[in-house]
């Protein structure tokens, strides 16, 4: 595990059809050297198919996979030199931890002495030196996951592919391993490609997230960019939670517009450079629940709405409220619990407000199967 730089991966127009079903539809992506890319999407979005095509297990119907500019599409998986962590880890049950980790080296015909040193270094990397002689079934889920990581990294792969690496673990362990994985990525500087349906995992681990739905790439970007400026309703909804407000543009200015929605007038300020929509057009806004604030008596905000609490729940860090409003329907808000000025109760009347730049316009998604 030298400090060799990672390799750049490019996916060009990747398409995979199974009969009439299109699992992946013309996806192009670039992963720069040493980047951590996450393919995020619900089940059936084609994310695993893309990973398997990169690994060489799925033969694309069309398109190409390039490594440092070289077309590797025709190469079988065993010639690609990619490390891979499988869902459920796929550790060899009849081999000890050390034999599992040493497998890629044994395959390459390395001497026992070389192998032993590298296996020890790899186990050291994932803090499992003491478990070398155990069988996989004698390890906890988290430990098995680490063995799978060590096994995938021991032969200095050009890329590390991860297929839902943390999905089988409980929440607390998942958070721990997320941090470890991130630290590992930083330490070894390799290019990682991860597949998950867990949006929190994607946000916390990735340099870049590619959001997929129905086999199509919906949006690519850094975690903050995707969370703050989702392009479509699907992205806003899948990556975190969101309120959606629809209205008609009444007045456009240089960097914003006023929207009439259900009888209420909303001020929107655009944060990213974009042309404000023309007057009279219908616009959909995404508004994150945590961007709403409880307004005290006499306090004002760019946008204000009054309503009564329909339902609420306590989340520890905050209160999650569903507020029924007169003009905007039901609105979800998350308020920090430690400084909430109210004790939530059903039927309680309150005023919520948000800044003009809190809500962002999003597009409706194209229906599945639409090829435009």
């Amino acid at each position: 595990m030298s400090g060799a730089a990672g390799h750049a991966l490019a996916i060009r127009g990747l398409t995979k059809r199974y009969g009439a079903f299109t699992a992946v539809d013309d996806v192009s992506l670039d992963v720069a050297q040493g980047q951590f890319l996450t393919l995020l999407g619900p089940s059936g979005s084609g994310k695993t198919t893309i990973l398997m095509a990169v690994a060489g297990f799925v033969e694309p119907t069309a398109g190409a996979v390039l490594l440092d500019g070289r077309d590797i599409t025709p190469l079988p998986p065993e010639r690609r030199e990619f490390g891979m962590v499988f869902q459920g880890y796929a550790l060899f049950p009849h081999m000890s931890v050390a034999e599992n980790v040493g497998f890629p080296l044994r395959v390459r015909g390395q001497s026992r002495a070389d192998r032993d040193a590298k296996v020890r270094a790899a186990l050291d990397l994932v803090q499992l030196e003491k478990f070398a002689d155990r069988l996989p079934r004698q390890l906890s889920g988290g430990q098995q996951q680490r063995v799978a990581l060590a096994r995938a990294l021991v032969f200095d792969p050009t890329l590390l592919l991860l297929d839902e690496p943390l999905s089988a673990l409980d929440k607390k362990l998942r958070a721990e391993l997320q941090e470890e994985l991130k630290a590992l990525h930083r330490r070894i500087g390799r290019t990682f490609v991860n597949v998950t349906h867990d949006q929190e995992e994607a946000l916390s681990l990735s340099d870049t997230i590619a959001i997929l739905n129905h086999g199509k790439l919906v949006q690519v970007g850094g975690p903050t960019a995707l969370y703050e400026r989702p392009r479509t309703r699907f992205v806003a909804d899948f990556l975190g939670k969101s309120n959606f407000l629809e209205g008609t543009v009444r007045e456009s200015t240089l960097d914003g517009f006023a929207l009439e929605a259900g009888g209420a007038r909303l001020q929107v300020k655009l944060t990213a450079p974009a042309f404000p929509p023309p007057g009279g057009s219908v616009v959909l806004l995404s508004l994150r629940p945590e961007k709403l604030a409880l307004l005290a008596e006499g306090e004002t905000a760019d946008n204000m709405v009054e309503g009564t609490i329909r339902a609420w729940s306590y989340l520890g860090a905050g209160f999650s409220l569903v507020v029924a409003t007169e003009h905007l329907g039901e609105i979800r808000a998350v308020l920090p619990a430690w400084k909430a000025a109210i004790a939530p109760a059903e039927g309680l009347r309150l005023r919520l407000g948000w800044a003009a730049d809190a809500a962002v316009p999003v597009e409706e998604d194209a229906p599945p199967g639409d090829t435009t």
């Binding site: 297990f57 065993e78 796929a90 060899f92 497998f103 395959v107 390459r108």
Partner: protein, 263 residues
């Protein structure tokens, strides 16, 4: 069984009678083998082991046992090799055509062995395989394949295909994957199939009657001739030895399955 009712007396009775019905014809050879008479009968005045002694010192019986054993071993090797490769191939490719092949492989099990034997007789004549060690090994080996295909396919059904993908992602060639990952995982199925293939050859008579005469004289064949020509109780002694040997193999198979289930 927790939460279920035990069987009533009638049920128990039927169960016992069925078990006896299955086991008694096998058990009856034990007293017959121990008879003190010189013909096939139950012991009259006392128990004697002389028929066992006859079998274990007779060149003819020992020769047949050895011949049966070597044929069975060779046929097992053939059946295990072909059956395992076929099962793995079908599993890897896994299309509708492979299902057909799997059914085809079971044909020797479905077709009455006498039909098979007639066919073999027609083909082996011109090939010079009649009454030859190789001929009997081929016949027994090929008809033993279904047992191996069945047990190995069952073992493969429980094999996580991701293990194969994992091996390949780490750079393992097909033969390395086969040797180090797939075979060790399905070994219990292979051994199980081998035991069945062995037993199949070990006690096969019908085909041997057709394709062998003097040179190849297997143990079942010698028992068969013994029954037809003279009623020597030595046959019963051989039968007891056969039953004992087969039982041992089956117990071995069972122990193996237990161990895999526990593992």
């Amino acid at each position: 069984m927790h939460g279920t009712y035990g069987a009533g007396p009638a049920g128990r009775g039927v169960a016992w009678i069925t078990a006896m019905y299955l086991v008694l014809p096998i058990l009856i050879v034990i007293p017959v083998a121990l008879t003190d008479q010189r013909y096939l009968s139950l012991p009259q005045e006392g128990i004697s082991f002389r028929h066992f002694a006859t079998v274990l010192t007779s060149e003819e019986w020992l020769g047949s046992i050895w011949q049966s054993f070597t044929i069975a071993v060779a046929a097992t090797v053939l059946a295990v090799t072909a059956g395992t490769l076929c099962a793995i191939g079908c599993w890897r490719i896994s299309r509708r055509s492979t299902d057909l092949i799997r059914v085809l492989m079971l044909l020797p099990l479905i077709i009455p062995s006498i039909v098979y034997a007639i066919g073999l007789y027609r083909y082996f004549g011109p090939l010079g395989l009649l009454d030859r060690f190789l001929g009997v090994v081929l016949a027994h080996g090929v008809t033993g394949i279904p047992y191996v295909v069945i047990t190995v396919s069952t073992a493969l059904a429980g094999f996580d295909p991701r293990l194969e993908q994992a091996a390949r992602s780490m750079g393992a060639s097909l033969s390395q994957t086969l040797r180090w990952v797939i075979l060790p995982r399905i070994m219990p199925g292979i051994v199980s199939g081998a035991i069945f293939a062995f037993v199949h050859s070990w006690d096969e008579l019908v085909m041997v009657l057709f394709i062998a005469s003097r040179e190849v004289f297997t143990l079942p064949r010698r028992i068969w001739d013994g029954i037809n020509e003279n009623l020597d109780p030595a046959m019963a002694a051989v039968a007891v030895l056969l039953v004992g040997f087969t039982l041992l193999l089956l117990l071995g198979d069972r122990a193996l399955r237990r161990r895999t289930e526990a593992g």
